[in-house]
Symmetry: C2
Subunit: 149 residues, 2 copies
DNA sequence: CAATTTTAGTTGACTTTTGCAACTAATTTC
DNA sequence: GAAATTAGTTGCAAAAGTCAACTAAAATTG
């Protein structure tokens, strides 16, 4: 119905609440990490020989922003920027041990929060939910492959 | 499983893609409106005698930010700031005709985009989806009432 | 009811996030 | 080999968000 809250409104609102909860939990655990940083660490960990341009493309953000956010992660010693062996223009981003540990810690907290947020949701409902999320991603027509659902 | 993408990661990514698509569609239609502005107009339209403090509480944002974003909406002549009749500290925010028209236009585009994004999603799946969203919102323990699901 | 506390709004200063354009160096294309 | 493209970098500026201080009005309370 047209009078309902738009899907995107609802989704955005929910995401925002969830994000606030996660960041609060990070802080409670003495973890100083922004959502963006968490996401970036996750992505760097996932991809072998990831370049900054790859990351910019993936998140649909300007490469200059990725550059600067990467700089912060490097200052924190979570990430190292290495010259690509084949293409001297490219820089490969890799996690340091410290970065990996932080990521694992953050993922633990994240899983815990997710679990709490999904309290009372039946497994089959969750399946439907993930299915819909996956279809929405496909329908944006911008994603590579939803290889992860 | 621990190796899966965290729920919040997936949700955030999806939301971001959807948001980009919506904003692109806004632009295609000559509508210069940010996501935040869209959401604010929507909320102002929904609530009678809404104060800035109410809005700040609702969105968990600082009142100074709400103040400034409201100023922009007022400059655009989408919103008017009126003195509350009973409490002289409060200002009620109301949509102008122009603001209402813009909101309706934006909502139309939003519904259209939502429809496209939900292409291939069965009605019952959508129900499950909205149900899960609603439960997540409840579980954040911060929302007033999910009166709208 | 006068004094204190709280609330809503406002402003200033500051940081973070983001976007756009220009530039460099390396690689590809033609 | 020249021209076009690509990855990374930097400068500049706008937008978003935080924190603290201040004003005026209301609510509290002793």
């Amino acid at each position: 119905m047209e009078t309902n809250k738009p899907l995107l409104y609802l989704l955005g609102q929910t995401m925002n609440l969830a994000k606030l909860k996660l960041l609060a939990r990070f802080k409670e655990n003495g973890l100083e990490l922004s959502m963006e940083q968490f996401i970036m660490l996750h992505f760097i960990n996932e991809k072998e020989d990831l370049t900054q341009q790859d990351m910019a493309d993936h998140f649909f953000k300007d490469k200059s922003l990725i550059m600067r956010q990467t700089n912060v992660l490097i200052e924190l010693r979570y990430v190292a920027r290495m010259q690509d062996k084949e293409d001297k223009r490219k820089k490969n981003l890799i996690l340091t041990k410290k970065g990996y540990d932080v990521l694992e810690f953050a993922k633990n907290i994240s899983n815990q929060v997710s679990h709490e947020l999904l309290n009372g949701v039946a497994p089959e409902e969750l399946l439907h939910f993930e299915n819909v999320i996956s279809k929405i991603q496909e329908n944006t027509g911008q994603k590579d492959h939803p290889s992860n659902c």
